[in-house]
């Protein structure tokens, strides 16, 4: 080859080399920029809504206190005591206004029950009703709570899960709560971060699923050993056991997990149930930390089969922290959103949006991860997330909270964390091997994400634009129409931070409709009811949930935005009992209370 030709080729390759480097920079900016925090509040309503943080104005002044465990964990306390801020929305007194139960997690701290007075303010009634002093030393501390009418008396009861003794409180006519944990037959100690109400066998009584995180023989305040940590960052199976409490209908529950085939010791951080496979029974999705997700397919309420691998959702180990369902394409199919960790320069697990794609040979559903394609993959150290139509445009948007430990600013524990996280089980499993945090942050001070959905496969991040500008360590997020105006407000529980309430103002001219269901043959809370709304050639499916996200529960009532459509063609309700009910042309811009026909 002649030297001039060689030189020309070298110039050509060099240009390509430089261009490739430039392309990497440009693509990184473009990709991260489109998913990163939006620019800032612009004061306009160009996204169709605006959020205003108004907790104090509403009379809510709550600061979460974190737990403090055995002194042998002091060096890594911020990361092992990093959960416990939770919120559950429910109307405990049946006055038509959504109330908030909020957990606290220091020994001796008090939980709150904020009763919605209906005049734009809330008042804490937990002490008066017996739901405040539930974190006494020796009983563990709160990690989350759920509303559900387990005795079908029409009043929402409260289940409280803890690192400690789980508790069930029966709602006595909205006037008081009575502890019935012993009668219910709950175990003496579970280190749980996830639970849901569901009626897995469709017998009309709400059952309970409870997922251990740490092994249940660990008392985090009195350690027998420091070998309590996950045995692996990706393949850990030394976490807490799982429980299914079947409601016998007489106030007692029987534990049926082994008989049902739900046996796992993965480190579950989030659980949610919905009919994903179209059998009429709720399937169970578990988002596990330090490992793969699990999807338990319900076999007629009698047995569950773990189909995570076959369905695609349980193949790649990540750090699962959220489980929520949404019909993101308005095509009657529920997708699963699972959050993970993304930290620039260190670890890019990216969140998963599992969209149903096809039927498997066995009749199950195969899912495809479209989080990157749809722009909802990068959310920092992501925790709770919920689907909801925040701008009432007829598509489900998504709110995500994030941030692990916000301690010293401009400090980071990430290097030490990343170093030991790849270590062999003998190293990683022993807390004494973990480097001390020494006041450093770990993915702290992160901006939240609020993605609006264009309905055809693309989400746009608008959190800062619309006013969701906090950088607290978010854990739980719940959506509820707190003022019965036809707009979903956002409630955020922050670890060692304040409870935030973002009041939502939606642009005028956008219609909505909501449904509050009450079961008769089905469980009275109607948890598991599937409601398909048809309007203007569109349709959207939602299911009444007994808990979703991370340590959270949205309002039970189902809210649909309709955009400019002023008319709904029909609503098809499939009750958990299997009955189907159709309502033609329900009036828009109002809440419909629907009782299951007998």
């Amino acid at each position: 080859m002649t030297p001039p030709r060689q030189r020309a080729l070298w110039v050509l390759w060099s240009a390509m080399f430089v261009a490739s480097l430039g392309a990497v920079v440009a693509l990184n900016r473009a990709t991260a920029g489109s998913r990163g925090p939006s620019a800032g509040t612009d004061g306009t309503m160009r996204h169709g809504f605006r959020l205003t943080e108004s907790a104090k104005r509403l009379g809510i002044d709550f600061l979460h206190q974190g737990p403090a465990f055995d002194a042998r964990l002091d060096h890594i306390m911020p990361q092992v005591a990093a959960m416990g801020a939770a919120v559950a929305v429910g109307d405990f007194d049946r006055d038509g206004w959504q109330d908030l139960y909020v957990t606290n997690s220091a020994e001796g701290s008090l939980n709150r029950l904020y009763r919605n007075k209906g005049d734009g303010t809330f008042v804490d009634v937990a002490p008066a009703l017996g739901l405040a002093d539930v974190n006494r030393a020796g009983t563990g501390v709160s990690m989350g709570a759920l509303w559900g009418d387990f005795d079908n008396d029409g009043y929402e009861d409260l289940f409280l899960y803890k690192y400690g003794r789980p508790e069930l409180f029966r709602n006595d006519g909205g006037r008081a709560f009575v502890r019935v944990s012993d009668r219910a037959g709950l175990p003496p100690w579970v280190n749980a971060n996830a639970a849901i109400w569901w009626d897995y066998d469709a017998d009309g009584w709400l059952d309970l699923f409870l997922a251990g995180y740490w092994a249940e023989d660990i008392d985090l305040w009195h350690l027998k050993t420091t070998r309590i940590m996950p045995e692996s960052f990706e393949y850990a199976e030394n976490g807490g056991r799982k429980y299914v409490f079947r409601n016998r209908g007489d106030g007692a529950f029987e534990e049926t997990s082994a008989a049902l085939g739900i046996q796992s010791r993965r480190w579950t951080l989030a659980a949610a149930a919905a009919d994903l496979s179209g059998t009429g029974y709720p399937d169970l999705f578990l988002a596990n930390d330090y490992g793969i997700s699990q999807l338990y397919a319900n076999q007629g309420g009698k047995r569950f089969v773990e189909v995570g691998h076959e369905s695609g959702v349980g193949r790649t180990p990540k750090s699962g922290m959220n489980a929520s369902f949404g019909d993101v394409f308005n095509d009657g199919r529920l997708s699963i959103y699972k959050t993970n960790i993304s930290e620039p320069g260190v670890l890019v697990q990216a969140n998963d949006l599992w969209v149903p794609r096809a039927r498997t040979a066995g009749g199950g559903v195969e899912f495809e991860n479209l989080a990157s394609t749809m722009g909802v993959d990068l959310g920092g150290w992501s925790w709770g997330s919920q689907f909801g139509d925040l701008n009432n445009d007829g598509t489900l948007d998504m709110y995500l909270v994030n941030g692990y430990v916000s301690a010293g600013e401009r400090t980071s524990y990430w290097y030490d964390f990343a170093e030991i996280a790849v270590g062999h089980t003998r190293i990683i499993a022993d807390a004494s091997n973990w480097p001390a945090m020494r006041g450093r942050s770990l993915s702290g001070y992160q901006h939240k994400r609020l993605w609006t959905n264009d309905g055809v496969g693309r989400f746009t991040e608008v959190a800062q634009d619309v006013g969701a500008s906090d950088t607290y360590d978010g854990r739980a997020v719940a959506l509820a129409d707190l003022s019965n105006r036809g707009a979903l407000d956002v409630v955020v529980a922050n670890q060692r931070g304040p409870l935030l309430v973002y009041t939502n103002t939606v642009s005028p001219g956008r219609h909505w409709i909501a449904f509050d269901l009450e079961g008769t043959a089905s469980n009275r809370s109607a948890i598991g009811a599937r409601v398909e709304l048809h309007w203007g050639g569109r349709r959207q499916v939602q299911e009444v949930s007994g808990g979703s996200g991370f340590s959270a529960q949205n309002q039970r009532r189902l809210h649909y935005g309709l955009g400019s459509a002023a008319e709904v063609e029909r609503v098809v309700i499939r009750w958990p009992s299997g009955r189907t009910q159709t309502i033609d042309r329900p009036q828009v811009d109002r809440l419909h209370r629907v009782r299951e026909p007998r």
């Binding site: 080729l9 390759w13 490739s20 693509l27 990163g36 320069g345 890019v348 990068l378 980071s412 790849v422």
Partner: protein, 298 residues
């Protein structure tokens, strides 16, 4: 990560295992090992989130090598070297997007044709490609950071197989020197930072390091030629890595090799030029099996 070529003599009709091993084209050993590691790891531990990402990295690397080689030298180059570059990128790079796999592979191969001096390329291709995307795209790219499950046996098998392969290609001393250096420096780091030695030692128990030890630091095309020189260089890599680690640089080993490897080559070239000027020849590698057939080509 490239491999060298060896000339194979005529084989007898019946060959022993040992003879078969000796007969095997050395260029095929590392690709076979790394493929075995990938397949085993994925089937057992699901380390690949999506096949298409790794496939894209491999196809990009091989296609780039074939096109660039053909245009530059008028011949189709053996794809083994590019295959290792591509598969290494496919394993090591973690990103939810496809483009980092494409560009990491492309940059790896292009570097062999662009960053050259005296007919040699200076950087281990995939070290450069991976380092480039890690450095330039921190928001969207990270590195493989998981374990081989919770058992010791997968790690033991890989260590054993890897050791056999690098011994076969005459690079065991390089891997061994690096491992010993890393361990020593891990204790030094522990003493300096106050972190438990188990934590500072932890990275070497992970798969990322096994790929680094067996496929990157052993690359003969970017190694100095004397055996002891190679040992000194790899100790220097471990030392620079320690300095990076003390400054909490997550991707310390890659950046250390990125800096030390070319520096060592440049020093060697300068020494060679000096000796040439004095009328003598630079020291050549003693081990025939590690001698490259052609240093003028990638």
């Amino acid at each position: 990560m490239t491999t060298e070529t060896s000339v194979v003599s005529t084989a007898p009709a019946v060959v022993s295992w040992r003879q078969a091993m000796q007969k095997l084209d050395n260029r095929l050993l590392p690709p076979l090992l790394i493929t075995a590691i990938l397949v085993t790891a994925h089937l057992n531990f699901g380390i690949l989130e999506a096949y298409e990402r790794t496939a894209l990295a491999i196809v990009t690397a091989i296609a780039a090598e074939l096109v660039l080689g053909r245009m530059s030298y008028g011949t189709w180059l053996h794809p083994a070297s590019a295959y290792i570059s591509g598969i290494s990128v496919g394993i090591l790079v973690r990103s939810p997007f496809l483009w980092p796999y494409f560009f990491a592979s492309l940059i790896s191969i292009l570097s062999k044709y662009v960053l050259r001096l005296n007919g040699r390329h200076l950087w281990n291709p995939s070290n450069l490609g991976v380092s480039a995307v890690l450095f330039l795209a921190p928001e969207t790219v990270s590195l493989l950071s998981i374990q081989w499950g919770n058992n010791l046996w997968p790690m033991a098998v890989i260590w054993l197989l890897g050791s056999v392969i690098v011994w076969r290609v005459g690079r065991l001393h390089v891997s061994a020197a690096y491992v010993v250096s890393f361990v020593v420096f891990a204790f030094v780091r522990s003493a300096i930072t106050g972190n438990p030695w188990q934590a500072t030692l932890a990275p070497i128990t992970g798969p990322m390091y096994q790929l680094f030890i067996f496929f990157m630091v052993t690359d003969p095309k970017v190694s100095v030629r004397s055996k002891w020189g190679q040992v000194v260089v790899v100790i220097a890599v471990a030392c620079v890595e320690m300095l990076f680690r003390l400054n909490e640089v997550i991707y310390a080993p890659f950046y250390a090799l990125f800096l030390v490897g070319p520096a060592a080559l440049l020093i060697e070239m300068a020494q060679g030029a000096g000796l040439k000027a004095q009328g003598s020849r630079p020291e050549r590698a003693v081990d025939k099996r590690s001698a490259s057939s052609s240093l003028s080509r990638p």
